[in-house]
């Protein structure tokens, strides 16, 4: 027998029962007898939702049954299976509504039966906000009462609303487990048809909250699939009726998880033999993410502790990457490789480390998620510094394999151990990156040999790979750029166009950062800019980029180039790390960084330059930019590139020397280009600078005039 046969058979059985029940009711009460669920504006909500018809009396109910029959087509196709499932659910609703004839109260405590509209409005708000992250429908009796109650408890702990149908209700009573709406465990009824009362909740949620009109069956199913995070846990044994009901649930988008060996339908009908894993399997199947509100550590966690210094004397133990092997790493894994919230410590804990000693540590945060990308790994990793610093009595510096962590004696005495590092990282990564991280587990290593091995065999190759990716990222190799309008609060018309080779002028937003920001906050400040319609390759002007800039500046800017300081230069907000301005005498540009307080050969200090350059207006001849941009091959590409740089403060020169030299070598085959660039020790006026440049044979002197 195929799954379709089972569904069809179950559907036929329920249909037969329903027909009998309606006929019997008509015989007893007459066809004009009013019939409807109490306290709802939708009469029979499921039937109304699917067809748009409000049933008023038994005669109409009989007619409605005829409509249901038309859904029961029998081709062995998915659609027929789903529709028969829906038909089964509607039959269940008909059977249930008959129980309410004459204002009867068919359900008594602890069972609720039909739920009023008012309850749905009340439940609807936390469902929409995610305060109730999901709705579990538990059907049948668990293998043992204890397993059943444990499952319910696990859902309660996550804030999930639990509804019970059938044997599980008796099992709760057997163990004296408290149920009721106030504890978010709602026993519906002991007959399998009572399951319709939770379906009714989902349908009315769509009608009330989704503004779905009755009769819009497709819209209804789309809404329940996308917005009602319900799932079914059906305990063995499953009969045909349950399977048919299950098909109805699946049609609404609710996966069914069962411990019976039965047909498997990927993502929809899932067999999980181990009842203790029902919770995890269900959440994964329905893509439910549980909000993490507290971090399970014995000391406080707050940004107030971020700047805390742990002195040697107060220190219980130190992990020092500059002396021994340490590292921190984020790795993307397959969902099946990760057990959410698993924290493992390999090696001795802090108790076994001598007070004041230097130790090795390595921790790997493994994440999985449908929208996770390896490009986000460094973005998460860079946050570890701030996460661990927020722990009271913990100091973290550095990154990658150059980290240093100190833990205070007080924090150790409060009970802080290595696993708590895992707890902090788990909780923060899961909550701050919920948009992309579905599952997360942490491994902490404290044996020196393990750390050495993992550092060299796992971490360093991973870092190298990332660096390689960064250097291979060019403006040409990517499909899109990103806007960044984080600064518009105080510079209303400024828009940064962030490209792999031109990071934001603040220096804080690289193309990868912008990409991650966009993914994590799709409505946020970083939006995708396509780059399909090139206007002028030389200065880097695109039609799409211009459109985006016009839109994001609310019409204040019409066009920008990415690579020119003279023609349509990109605007600046005011957060620039550096400002570059034309120095006419030497036919080049001077760059001043924010930290430099002295005079430049342009005749202006950084602050004076800033007042010319900021405010979101285009000032040809001046440009704000990040430090990293200085060594980019796209730096002033339109005007000849980095060869135009004639002056930089000494400190800035030293910071960028290595990479700038490499760029100059590659572009012009000039060795030690940085030595040709003047600084404040050489000159603060154009004439002296020119003499210096002539002496060095600076390439700018022989280039085409800039203006």
């Amino acid at each position: 027998m195929t799954l379709f046969d089972v569904v069809f058979k179950g559907n036929d059985a329920v249909y037969g029962l329903t027909e009998q029940a309606i006929d019997a009711a008509i015989e007893k009460h007459g066809a004009d007898k009013a019939v409807a669920f109490p306290d709802t504006a939708y009469s029979l909500p499921c039937y109304y939702g699917v067809t748009g018809t409000k049933v008023g009396n038994l005669g109409e109910l009989k007619t409605a049954l005829g409509v249901v029959k038309t859904l029961m087509t029998r081709n062995p196709r998915l659609h027929d299976g789903f529709m028969s499932g829906i038909a089964t659910a509607l039959c269940a609703e008909f059977i249930e509504v008959l129980k309410y004839i004459d204002g009867a109260a068919p359900y008594e405590a602890p069972c609720y039966g039909h739920l009023a509209d008012a309850v749905i409005r009340e439940l609807g708000v936390p469902l929409v906000t995610g305060d109730i992250p999901g709705v579990a429908v538990i059907l049948g009796a668990a293998p043992t009462a204890q397993e059943g109650v444990d499952l319910i408890k696990s859902y309660q702990a996550q804030g999930i609303l639990v509804t019970l149908v059938g044997g599980i209700i008796d099992q709760c009573e057997e163990l004296g487990y408290k149920t009721g709406a106030n504890v978010r465990v709602i026993p519906l009824g002991k007959d399998v048809t009572a399951v319709i009362h939770v379906v009714s909740v989902a349908v009315r949620a769509a009608l009330i909250f989704g503004n779905i009109q009755g009769g819009d069956a497709a819209g209804l199913m789309k809404y329940t699939f996308e917005r009602v995070p319900a799932f079914v846990n059906a305990f063995a044994p499953l009969d045909e009726v349950i399977v048919a009901c299950g098909a109805g649930a699946i049609a609404l988008g609710f996966p069914v998880i069962t411990n019976e060996e039965t047909f498997r339908v990927p993502k929809s009908l899932i067999v999980q033999k181990d009842v203790s894993k029902f919770n995890a399997t269900s959440l994964e199947a329905r893509d439910i993410k549980i909000k993490i509100t507290n971090i399970d550590i014995p000391v406080a966690f707050a940004s107030a502790f971020e700047g805390e210094i742990i002195r040697r004397g107060d220190m219980q133990v130190e992990f020092d990457g500059s002396r021994v092997d340490c590292f921190e790493l984020v790795q993307t894994k397959e969902a099946s490789e990760i057990e959410d919230h698993k924290i493992e410590v390999f090696g001795p804990d802090i108790d076994e480390m001598p007070v004041g000693s230097k130790q090795s540590i390595g921790y790997i945060v493994e994440v999985a998620g449908k929208s996770m990308q390896t490009d986000f790994e460094p973005v998460f990793e860079r946050k570890f510094h701030s996460y661990l610093n927020c722990v009271e009595g913990m100091m973290h510096t550095g990154q990658r394999d150059m980290i240093r962590i100190r833990l205070s004696k007080d924090t150790y005495n409060a009970g802080f151990r290595l696993k708590h590092i895992g707890e902090v990282l788990y909780a923060k990564v899961k909550s701050e990156f919920a948009a992309v991280v579905d599952k997360c587990q942490v491994k902490v290593y404290s044996i020196a040999e393990d750390c050495t091995k993992l550092r060299h065999e796992l971490a360093i190759p991973a870092f190298d790979k990332r660096d390689e990716r960064l250097t291979s990222l060019t403006d040409e190799s990517v499909g899109v750029y990103y806007s960044c309008i984080m600064c518009q609060a105080f510079s209303p018309s400024h828009v940064c166009v962030v490209t792999p080779e031109r990071l934001g002028l603040c220096g804080a937003v690289s193309w990868l950062d912008a990409k991650a920001t966009n993914e994590l906050d799709p409505q946020g400040p970083c939006q995708v800019i396509t780059k399909e319609k090139i206007i002028d390759e030389r200065i880097g002007e695109y039609e799409d980029v211009n459109d985006a800039v016009r839109k994001f500046s609310q019409g204040a800017l019409d066009d920008v180039s990415l690579y020119s300081i003279i023609e349509k230069p990109m605007t600046s907000c005011g957060c620039f790390e550096c400002i570059c301005g034309i120095e006419p005498l030497s036919n080049g540009v001077c760059i001043a960084n924010r930290e430099y307080a002295g005079m430049t050969p342009i005749g202006m200090t950084f602050s004076e330059l800033a007042s010319m350059t900021g405010g979101g207006v285009q000032t040809p001849g001046f440009m704000g930019h990040g430090k990293h941009f200085i060594s980019s091959k796209k730096f002033m590409k339109a005007e000849g590139g980095v060869a135009r740089i004639v002056w930089m403060p000494k400190e800035l020169k030293e910071t960028v020397a290595e990479r700038l030299n490499a760029t100059a070598k590659e572009l012009y085959n000039i060795d030690n280009f940085v030595d040709m660039i003047g600084d404040e020790t050489v000159a603060e006026d154009p004439e002296t600078l020119l003499a210096f440049l002539e002496e060095k044979g600076h390439p700018a002197l022989t280039m085409e005039p800039m203006m």
């Binding site: 409005r121 609807g124 708000v125 929409v128 906000t129 995610g130 305060d131 009330i208 909250f209 989704g210 503004n211 917005r227 309008i485 518009q488 609060a489 209303p492 409505q523 946020g524 400040p525 839109k551 609310q554 019409g555």
Partner: protein, 313 residues
């Protein structure tokens, strides 16, 4: 060469939004021109003026305002008196007593006041929270429930609590949802988008883009309003076409120019006059910058601003 005037009428317009029910319902927005540019195209719905009372009743008011409510003892009395005042087109009830850092009144107590006021007046209602995002989520949700059928404006959902306020006010009870951001066009836009994604109909959103008293960073408010109206009209940006409502009273009556007594500041002149002046100046500037409604406190300000609007539209 003769001068030919060019109409500054736009192809886009501000959403039309009705608050309240029945004869007294008010309609905001609908214009396709800049504020008060009636010479470019007629403005069908003139900006509206509302009056604000708080759950604190008489004790909460400055002396000069207490005078205007003489004989009132309860909040309901004040609501009735306010509703009868000249120029008042809607009533705003600010539940500031709910602030956990202040009186921390219970939600039940405050919602009862909302119910009592709603029963006593038939004017369109605006319910403002206590400015604590967590408490407001609860307070405004319950107020939305209590005002079922009144088509009231809940002011406001913010980025931190928009889901709760939006779901309760906009989805469950079909009220008008206020969207409050802090003087930034992008944040205003983002909140409107988020509310729409939640399922709230963009046509039933009013924006409070953030406000200030004149002289207190007010230029940011004005430029933000300018830019929002420009984006809504000239760029046809549907995510910014919601009418703007500006709660002037709660800002103005907190600054020293409005509240310092004459005894403390003799050189500033009579306190009441100053308060009214501040309120009128702020409200007038908000209106010409794009507010479709203002909420005021002093009955004299209400009269003056209504007159101003009547003269201009």
């Amino acid at each position: 060469m003769p001068f030919t005037a060019k109409s500054g009428k736009f192809n886009a317009s501000i959403n039309t939004l009705t608050i309240g029910t029945g004869d007294k319902a008010i309609t905001l927005g609908g214009e396709n021109v800049l504020p008060f540019y009636t010479f470019d195209a007629p403005i069908e719905n003139a900006p509206k003026v509302g009056i604000e009372i708080t759950d604190g009743g008489m004790e909460n008011e400055p002396e000069c305002i207490q005078k205007c409510y003489e004989g009132c003892t309860t909040v309901v009395d004040m609501a009735k008196a306010a509703a009868a005042m000249e120029g008042v087109e809607f009533l705003s009830l600010r539940l500031e007593g709910g602030d956990p850092n202040g009186l921390n009144k219970s939600t039940e107590e405050l919602v009862q006041i909302v119910k009592d006021v709603a029963a006593a007046v038939d004017l369109p209602l605006v319910v403002c929270g206590c400015k604590n995002v967590e408490k407001d989520a609860e307070l405004l949700s319950k107020a939305a429930e209590a005002l079922d059928g009144r088509n009231a404006l809940l002011l406001a959902a913010k980025e931190e609590n928009y889901k709760t306020v939006g779901a309760a006010a906009g989805l469950a009870y079909k009220q008008v949802v206020g969207a409050e951001s802090s003087v930034d066009i992008n944040l205003a836009k983002q909140l409107n988008v988020l509310l729409s994604q939640l399922g709230v109909n963009g046509q039933s959103i009013a924006m409070n883009i953030g406000t200030a008293s004149a002289g207190y960073g007010f230029e940011y408010v004005i430029s933000t309003m300018d830019r929002i109206k420009a984006a809504a009209l000239s760029q046809n940006d549907a995510t910014l076409q919601m009418p703007i409502i500006t709660p002037v009273a709660s800002e103005v009556w907190g600054v020293k120019e409005a509240v310092a007594s004459e005894a403390d500041m003799p050189e500033w002149g009579p306190a009441e006059e100053r308060g009214i002046d501040m309120e009128i100046e702020t409200a007038a500037a908000d209106l010409v910058s794009g507010s479709n409604a203002v909420i005021l406190r002093h009955p004299a300000s209400v009269v003056t601003i209504s007159k101003l609007i009547k003269e201009l539209v």
